[in-house]
Amino acid sequence: MAIEGTHIVQAAAFLGAGLSMGLGAIGPGVGEGLAAAKACEAIGKNPVEAGLLTRTMLVGQAVSESTGIYALVIALLLLFVV
């Protein structure tokens, strides 16, 4: 089995895509969970504003998710472009 350079590069790209998305998912996962935890706390303290708090929570989560989306973009680039 002759191992060629292009195969190794491709293999590295696949492995790198998996690692990129996998490692990139850790931070946003915990962070979004914390944001939602604080939102639940706030709703517990002030249930009247539940709608507003949920919306704020979603916007905050969307922002903290952006690093996860960068990881997704890099993974897709590694898979299909490189």
Binding site: A50, R55, V59, I69, L72
Partner: protein, 224 residues
């Protein structure tokens, strides 16, 4: 285990392209439609002050979902989007439960169904956003906080469609594959009913609810 990932397909040539249809999903979707229509018909047939059992179910259901929608948006928009939300939830619920019946498959097990529901929610949310804020205000949102964040905001919006549809697809397909593998390994003794109860009824209900809630909230975020 050969049936993993195999589907019955109908391939129709169309101007040089092969259009592939998943027959199982189409038939099952129609069966779910018929079930929803029958439920609606019987719930609304003999409307009385003292309601019958089916009417009570229908009223409870509609009241709850209208309440959810009005909580997230406001009274007027809630009335507008309520019917859509009711239909979406009922369709997803019955689709997720369809696997319980013998010879039936969940339509949501095929990625196309959740993806089309997700795209529908996406387009409705953005239409509602344009209606509420005007086209200029809607476009301006993408250039917040700084102008060069635009591509990332755009990808963020598209990623919502991916996450909402793959969440439903992953849970339902994952449940059915795990049920299949475990049933195969234990020769279908003892375990499958409990697995079905957990993955189909419990997880199916929660995922249908989560999908509906997220659609409501995405519309509400666009409108505000």
């Amino acid at each position: 285990m050969e049936e993993l990932g195999r589907i019955h397909q109908l391939i129709i040539p169309f101007f040089g392209h092969n259009m592939t249809f998943n027959l199982e999903v189409i038939v099952m979707t129609w069966i779910v439609f018929i079930m929803i229509l029958a439920f609606g018909f019987f719930a609304a047939k003999n409307r009385r002050i003292i309601p019958g059992p089916v009417q009570i179910m229908g009223e409870l259901f509609v009241n709850q979902l209208y309440g959810l929608t009005e909580d997230a948006m406001d009274k007027e928009l809630g009335q507008k989007y309520g019917p859509l939300i009711c239909a979406l939830f009922l369709f997803l619920l019955l689709s997720n439960w369809a696997g319980l019946l013998p010879f039936m498959e969940e339509p949501t097990k095929d990625l196309n169904t959740p993806l089309s529901m997700g795209l529908m929610g996406f387009f409705i949310a953005h239409y509602a956003g344009i209606r509420a804020k005007g086209f200029k205000g809607y476009i301006k949102e993408y250039f917040e906080p700084i102008f060069f964040m635009m591509p990332l905001n755009l990808i963020g919006e598209l990623a919502k469609v991916v996450s909402i549809s793959f969440r439903l697809f992953g849970n339902i397909m994952g449940g059915s594959i795990i049920i299949m593998v475990v049933s195969h390994l234990t020769y279908s003794v003892l375990l499958p009913p409990f697995l079905n109860a957990f993955f189909t009824i419990f997880v199916g209900t929660i995922q249908a609810f989560v999908f509906t809630m997220l659609t409501i909230v995405y519309i509400a975020v666009q409108v505000k």
